[in-house]
Amino acid sequence: MKPKYLAIPYIVWMGIFVAAPVLIVVFYAFTTADGGLTLSNISEMGRFLPIFVRSFELAFVSTIICIVIGYPVAYILSREGARVQRLIIMLIMLPMWMNFLLRTYAWMSILENTGLLNSLLTALGLPALQIINTPSAVVIGMVYNFLPFMILPIYSVIVKIDKSLYEAAQDLGADTVSVFRKVVFPISLPGVLSGVMMVFVPAVSTFVISQLLGGGMVMMLGDLIDMQFLGSAYNPRLGSAIALVMMIIVILFMYVMNRFGEGEEKAVGL
């Protein structure tokens, strides 16, 4: 027996449970209940344009906030001693091991109108804020849940940078700022890129965070799909069409990002 045949069971499995489901989604998106071809599911997409725009907008904002908050964390951490680095990485990963539903639930009790944040503000004599059930609450929830997915890939790239590169740059007269700008930042971009993918895809397709923190007021693509399959608006064909369009936009986005990333890697000669 040749070793390559060991893969055959999994190839069959992939055919049934990975490839076929994707094809079924495509099939459902383009057919009617009695099996005829149709474009009506796809053409209905226009009706949902505001939800598409909102989902991509909120996912985009959350991703940017994750980069802005997370990048400095990774950079500062990479300059600590080995023991501190290890400890802090463990501390950053620990919350990820708690189910994200629980973490999101915690934010409900902090952000609700009579919640802890508003109690704190009132105690300080400040006006209370209406955050829960607004897009801001959803963004806070997404940033909170996905921030470690941004910090960790950036950190793992920065920490591997050869220390002699810093020394070489400094010997050639670069100050801390230019070392960062010309050495660290360009090399760390692939880390940012994988961070973006790990944050953006779950953010754009979430339905839990928007349901819990948006209270049904902030409908996103995930909610829309959920409604077509397990919710009130039962219509798997329309749901498949929405999922398909979302998938295609995400794939295009990742393709563009990857091309951009390849260009960067060539530019710094990696």
Binding site: M14, L101, Y144, L147, D226, P236, M246
Partner: protein, 274 residues
């Protein structure tokens, strides 16, 4: 050399850690609150822990989660290891497209994986007469676990010296025997790693389970989702506290063990050099 971060940097990272942990502390503190309020403290109690343990639907969901996670992780690890060995021994022309298909469940949004599997199960189910339930849930978990196993075993195969297998065969091993005696022990760290990843992914998954489990089976994350929608149950807080402490203890044990092993290795190195 690079300088250590200054005070400002350390304060910044401290604040971010505070941001990451504040909600968890809130959950833990209010698991001991004597009223159902999520934000007003009114006294200490263990009542929510008691009612949590007495709640049979939560305990059932917990058992389902553990059984599904164990079964799917073990099956996915075996299947994924064989698949990785198979892929590795293929020509690139075949391997590349197969790896792309393998990566689909990882790249796809969970909700798309979930609904597409649900559509498959419903159409197969009406032909073969089965309903969504434990079986479909298990198949879904195996399906999203295998790619991670393949990905964690593959690098170990690349590090493997192919002369080892040839040597074993020259010494009279059949290929299968060489596989068990030479290849498997060498790639073991990758296999174990894959098993751990698969288990944790399975325990943590909500979205794919939600679409593929049907109405009669519930995992713990699904139960938590149902509870959050009712909005009143400090039992969730008690549950979070228990889960958090379990994970904390596990991580500390793993880290202490790793640190000890590193010390030992350093010690060995020092001796062999001295």
């Amino acid at each position: 050399m690079t300088r250590k971060p200054g005070l400002f940097g350390r304060v910044y990272n401290g604040l971010i850690l505070l941001f990451l942990y504040a909600p968890i502390f809130v959950l833990i503190v209010f698991s001991f609150n004597s009223t159902k309020s999520r934000s007003v403290w009114s006294g200490f109690t263990f009542d929510w822990y008691r009612s949590l343990i007495q709640d049979s639907s939560i305990m059932n969901a917990f058992y389902t989660t553990i059984i599904i996670a164990l079964l799917s992780a073990v099956i996915a690890t075996v299947a994924g290891t064989f698949a990785a060995v198979g892929f590795y021994n293929m020509r690139r022309r075949w391997r590349t497209p197969l790896m792309h298909i393998n990566n689909i469940p990882m790249m796809n949004a969970d909700i798309v994986t979930g609904v597409s599997l649900a559509l498959l199960f419903v159409s197969l189910g009406s032909a073969l007469r089965f309903n969504l339930g434990f079986g479909t849930l298990l198949i879904a978990h195996i399906t999203f676990n295998i790619p991670y196993v393949v990905l964690s075993v593959m690098p170990k195969l690349r590090q493997l010296d192919s002369n080892l297998v040839d040597a074993a065969c020259d010494l009279g091993c059949t290929w299968l025997k060489a596989f068990w005696k030479v290849v498997v022990p060498e790639i073991m760290p990758g296999i174990i790693n894959g098993l751990i990843i698969a288990f944790t992914l399975s325990v943590d998954d909500f979205v794919i389970s939600y679409f593929t489990a049907g109405g009669n089976v519930m995992t713990l994350p699904m139960k938590i989702f149902a509870m959050t929608r009712r909005r009143i149950s400090p039992e969730i807080n008690a549950l979070s506290t228990i889960l958090f402490l379990t994970v904390l203890i596990l991580l500390i044990v793993i880290n202490v063990r790793e640190a000890k092993q590193e010390e030992k290795q350093k010690e060995k190195l020092r001796r062999s050099q001295g």
